[in-house]
């Protein structure tokens, strides 16, 4: 019996596989070598003419060849695909050190971000945002806050007025919102009032005619100095981090008593003032007609000051020039 030269078949398969340029050809090759019209198929047809022993031997051999062809093709196909992916991936080689999108900030002004952050902290312990006018009566800005008419803060050199009788002005402190809110709402009161305040200063590195404060006010039955301490310590830790050291030193504000300043210990060991606060003076509560069973505390914090500390900004003018180089950093 003339056996097919299987080595020759396998050799030709190898050549054929090397020529493949498209993934789809592998199916064709498989058909060519094992399909209906393949040499292998022709040989298989001959099996029925062979003796039982020969049939078994040659049959096994044909099977082996078939397996060998199939596995060669599978293997070649796998290699072909792997090679294709590898070369695809090799082609993709961007320089990731190029920043095509160089402006990465949140697009919110840093003052607004700091205000939001402070509001968020107080909102988490039950405070709501209150709002009051920026052009105010002198009464709300000074008298109601226990600042008598001879007080130096009322001089035109410090305060911007909007009428010649000095009865309306651009508020110099957000404490006015305390009064507005209490005039229109019954206790208990837990509010924060972020907003603009105004002073007669030229815009330069350390001054601005416009800046931002956040005023806080809590009035309830049984609010005490210890509550004031706990509240502001909570805020400072939330804003600057759990490990910040805080101290309270006595101070004077016309509309709180006792009054204090809160200092935090900065990285360089320096103590920095960040807040003014105190128990609301009984006169203020009288002015708005609250009953004597209510008392509480108030505080004020400078937003620019917090922003300057947090981001190490050294120039107040930056906040109001709105130079994109500044805006896009935050």
């Amino acid at each position: 019996m003339a056996e097919l030269n299987f080595d020759k078949v396998l050799a030709s398969l190898k050549l054929r596989l090397n020529e493949i340029v498209d993934e789809a050809e592998f199916d064709d090759v498989l058909k060519e070598y094992t399909g209906k019209d393949s040499l292998l198929s022709v040989e298989r047809k001959k099996l029925s003419t062979l003796s039982k022993d020969d049939k078994k031997t040659y049959g096994e051999k044909l099977n082996n060849v078939n397996n060998s062809i199939t596995s060669n093709i599978k293997k070649a196909e796998q290699e072909f695909i792997n090679k294709k992916y590898t070369s695809l991936e090799n082609e993709e080689n961007e320089d990731i050190t190029i920043d095509w999108i160089t402006r990465s900030g949140t697009h919110r002004h840093v003052i607004s971000q700091v205000m939001d952050e402070v509001v968020e902290i107080f909102a988490s312990i039950g405070y709501k945002v209150a709002f009051g006018p920026e052009v105010e009566t002198s009464w709300h800005n000074f008298d109601a806050l226990n600042t008598p008419d001879w007080h130096p803060a009322r001089y035109e050199s410090d305060t911007l007025y909007t009428d010649h009788n000095l009865e309306t002005l651009l508020r110099t402190q957000t404490s006015t919102v305390q009064i507005r809110h209490m005039e229109n709402n019954d206790p208990p009161v837990y509010i924060v009032a972020p907003g603009r305040v105004f002073r007669s200063d030229q815009l330069d590195a350390t001054h601005s005619p416009v800046f931002h404060q956040l005023e806080g006010l809590a009035i309830d039955k049984n609010l005490k100095f210890t509550d004031l301490k706990g509240t502001l310590e909570y805020f400072v830790k939330q804003f600057f981090g759990e490990n910040i050291e805080t101290k309270f030193i006595p101070h004077f504000f016309p509309f709180t008593e006792p009054s204090a300043e809160v200092l935090v210990k900065w990285n360089n060991g320096e103590w920095l003032e960040i807040l003014g606060c105190g128990m609301v003076d009984p006169n203020v509560l009288d002015h708005v007609g609250y009953s004597k069973e209510y008392q509480g505390f108030a505080w004020g914090v400078g937003i620019e000051r917090l922003a300057m500390l947090k981001y190490q900004i050294d120039h107040i003018k930056n906040f109001y020039e709105n130079d994109l180089r500044f805006l896009e950093q935050f």
Partner: protein
């Protein structure tokens, strides 16, 4: 205010207390530490010597040769100063010593004479600025002493902040009184009784004026105008006071020592009776600084029979000042009302150590002690004659007893203070009080203006207890659910705009009239009567000018054309909508989108915007809003709209007019809008109601209608939405082709039934219905049916 440790030590024994502990005490008592300086001598090996002989230098006219005895030995020293004679006791720098800033002194040949060092001036030893010659010391100083041991050369200086309510702490005595409680030390008594030995000449009658409660004086004869002693000059210069002569120095010393301002008159220039009154309008007084001051009826003055002689508490008169020809003195020690002194000193811009103390309120019982201290200091140096103290006081000030329940302390502070602490503190602060089991009754001392009410004393106790010794508790407020409408709106707007390539700005509220009139001529501006800058005296009536300025600034400086927004107040002169007596203020949102926008990805080109970019943004912010065309000043004639939300006008928007674009020298057109955030509520913005998803396949139609140029696409969308209101829909415009003659609008309708799959026939039926209704209602015409899918 500056305070010196050695000076405090005159009042309480704190020499052995570490100065850092004193700093901590000062701070915990409410005196902010502005600086703390450890003072050490800025010289080495300076000895005290006495000039035994003085003779001429053989080769030089401008210097003399002295023989100086430094106790153990005598040296020949060449000296260029002429302000001393034989017998003067002086600081001497021998060879191997150092004067100011490490300058080494050695033997030196001066024109052929060997000089064994130098005799020093105060400046050369870095004591104070004095160019009048060498420093003369008391003749009793021991010769050969180390100069640094004859005064407090190792000392600590603090600069502290004293709050405006604590005038009583504007002196070393005041600070020492506070510290005496902190360190539990007793306060010294430092005044000696006077033994007058002449009769007074000048009468004093302070009159009935309330602004002067007390006017006391003393007359001094037989004195010599001279330098004050070393210690006085050292202390005064350390606390920042210029040393002048003994009379001026002692008045200044008393002021910094106990807080009583004094004024020295040349007695022989006074005539008749001294009295106190308010000035007549336009009355003139020439003050010490040789300025002619025009007075008004608010100015409190001191007069003699002839003329005004001083501005009370502010500055003395030129004509009666002490000069080197003065033989006799009259020293004034008075109490003037704080408001009167404040008004005069501010009006004339004359602010002195004295006026600052009167402004804050001085002790109304201190006048006699002030004169005593002055005479005591003088007596130490010279044998002077002095009169009785002439007292023209009215005792017009008294303090009432204040009584309160002890539990009020705990009620305010949250901590109970024990009786011993309370009693001890009040004793140390010299506050007269009666502390019982249930009550505290106290009377404020004459130097404390700030202790009128129970709360004032409670604060005092809290301060001395130490704020940092209180516990901390965290109360929770009553608003855990909402931050409030105002803030919710602000956050909502910011969140959307900042994620749509807008940069938020914060600009000043001031502007010029041009910027206000450009966009909002209908509004009358509010102006600042004392503006910082005359060209920016108005409060802005719109945010648009500010946004355009920032836009221009960044195009010019950074070559970036971006979108901006600002949320802040605009103001106008109409009445405030809620509050009386103040102008209208509207918390507003301003938007700006440029025609050509710089993209934040450098690989891409710029992006073009048109009026729809602005309307899309506004729709995104206010999904339920509608636009109504209305030409506004400053805007493009057609591209100018009112923005309405549920039929209420909330703002306006459009394209900047070509005229303004050109006048503002802008290269590009801008799309701008302003919205009053007070005209809607946060809940009107929430359009986010869940629309159920249909499980059935969609059908889709792309239709093209021929429409007129002024047709509004939203009308067509609304119509189709109403036809298909039972379905899940997605209806959008995909094409808007316009030329001079025609306009074609392409609309895509994607719709799903909630209950079934549409058949081909049903689908066609829907399509026909839509086309028919649209054509009937709007007089528009279907061009073609581009596609009709399953």
């Amino acid at each position: 205010m500056k305070i010196l440790k050695s000076w405090l030590n005159d009042w309480i024994d704190i020499e052995d207390i570490n100065s850092n502990d004193i700093s901590e005490a000062l701070e915990s008592l409410g005196f902010e530490i502005e600086s703390k300086t450890d003072k050490t001598p800025n010289y080495k090996n300076i000895l005290v010597g006495k000039v035994l002989e003085i003779y001429e230098h053989p080769n030089a006219d401008k210097v003399r040769i002295t023989k100086v005895d430094v106790g153990s030995k005598t040296y020949e020293i060449v000296c260029g100063a002429w302000n001393f004679d034989v017998g003067a006791v002086v600081p001497v720098a021998l060879p191997n010593s150092e004067i100011k800033d490490g300058f080494k002194i050695n033997k030196r040949d001066i024109r052929g004479v060997e000089s064994n060092g130098m005799i020093c001036s105060a400046s050369e030893l870095d004591l104070w600025d004095d160019h009048s010659g060498i420093l003369k010391l008391s003749s009793e100083t021991k010769l050969g002493s180390d100069f640094s041991t004859i005064y407090s050369s190792n000392d600590t200086l603090w600069e502290i902040g004293v709050t405006p309510n604590r005038g009583d702490c504007m002196s070393h005595l005041g600070i020492a009184r506070e510290l005496s409680n902190y360190f539990n030390l007793s306060l010294q008594e430092n005044s000696n009784e006077l033994k007058p030995n002449i009769e007074s000449v000048i009468k004093v009658n302070s009159g009935r004026i309330k602004a002067c409660n007390s006017y006391q004086s003393i007359e001094i004869e037989n004195f010599k105008l001279d330098d004050s002693n070393l210690n006085i000059r050292y202390r005064l210069s350390a606390v920042g006071v210029r040393v002048i002569n003994n009379v001026v120095d002692y008045t200044n010393y008393v002021l910094h020592d106990i807080g009583q301002p004094l004024h020295a008159f040349d007695r022989d220039k006074l005539f008749g009776t001294i009295s106190v009154r308010f000035a007549k309008d336009k009355e003139i007084l020439k003050t010490l600084d040789e300025q002619e001051r025009k007075l008004d009826t608010n100015d409190l003055i001191i007069t003699d029979d002839d003329k005004p002689i001083a501005l009370a508490g502010v500055m003395g008169g030129y004509d009666t000042e002490v000069t080197d020809k003065t033989n006799n003195l009259l020293i004034e020690s008075a109490y003037f009302d704080k408001v009167s002194v404040m008004k005069t000193s501010r009006r004339l811009n004359l602010i002195s150590d004295a006026s600052i103390r009167f402004e804050r309120g001085i002790d109304f019982n201190l006048q006699k002690q002030g004169l005593q201290r002055f005479v005591n200091l003088f007596e130490n140096d010279q044998d002077i004659f002095y009169s009785n103290i002439i007292d023209s006081s009215k005792n017009g000030i008294t303090y009432n007893e204040v009584k309160f329940r002890k539990y009020e302390i705990e009620q305010i502070l949250g901590v109970e203070l024990d009786d011993e602490f309370i009693k001890n503190t009040l004793t140390k602060l010299k506050i007269e009080a009666n502390v019982s089991d249930t009550e505290i009754i106290f009377t404020s001392p004459s130097w404390r203006y700030d202790l009128e009410r129970p709360i004032d004393l409670i604060e005092e106790l809290a301060k001395h207890y130490g704020f940092n010794n209180f516990a901390s508790t965290l109360p929770i407020g009553n608003n855990l659910n909402s931050k409030g409408d105002y803030w919710d709106k602000r956050l909502y707007l910011s969140k959307i705009l900042s994620s749509s390539n807008f940069y938020e700005t914060q600009t000043l509220s001031f502007t010029d009239s041009y910027s206000n009139e450009l966009f909002t001529p209908e509004k009358k501006s509010v102006n600042v009567i004392n503006p910082i800058d005359r060209s920016q005296e108005y409060l802005r009536t719109n945010l648009l000018s500010s946004l355009i300025n920032i836009y221009k600034f960044n195009v010019e400086n950074n070559n970036h054309s971006n979108r901006y927004y600002e949320i802040n107040n605009v103001y106008d002169d109409s009445n405030h909508k809620i509050f009386k007596h103040i102008p209208n203020q509207e918390y507003s949102l301003g938007l700006l989108i440029p025609e050509i926008e710089t993209i934040e990805d450098d690989r891409l080109k710029t992006k073009s915007n048109d009026i729809n970019s602005l309307t899309n943004t506004i729709k995104k912010l206010f999904p339920l809003c509608e636009f109504e065309q209305l030409s506004r000043p400053g805007f493009h004639k057609n591209y100018s709209y009112l923005i309405k939300l549920e039929n209420k006008i909330i703002g306006y928007m459009g394209k900047l007019s070509y005229k303004n674009k050109s006048e503002m020298e802008l290269e590009q057109s801008l799309y701008i809008a302003q919205i009053n955030t007070e005209n809607f509520e946060f809940k009107q913005l929430e359009d986010n109601i869940y629309k159920p998803l249909s499980p059935y396949p969609y059908i889709k139609f792309d239709l093209s209608f021929s429409v007129t140029h002024d047709f509004q696409a939203s009308d067509l969308i609304h119509l189709i939405e109403s036809i298909l209101k039972e379905n899940e829909n997605n209806i959008s415009i995909f094409d808007n082709f316009t030329n001079e003659k025609t306009r074609n609008l392409g609309i895509r309708i994607v719709t799903r039934n909630y209950d079934k799959t549409y058949t081909e026939a049903e689908s066609t039926q829907i399509l026909e219905m839509i086309v028919k209704e649209a054509e009937t209602k709007f007089k528009i015409k279907l061009n073609r049916r581009a596609e009709n899918a399953t």
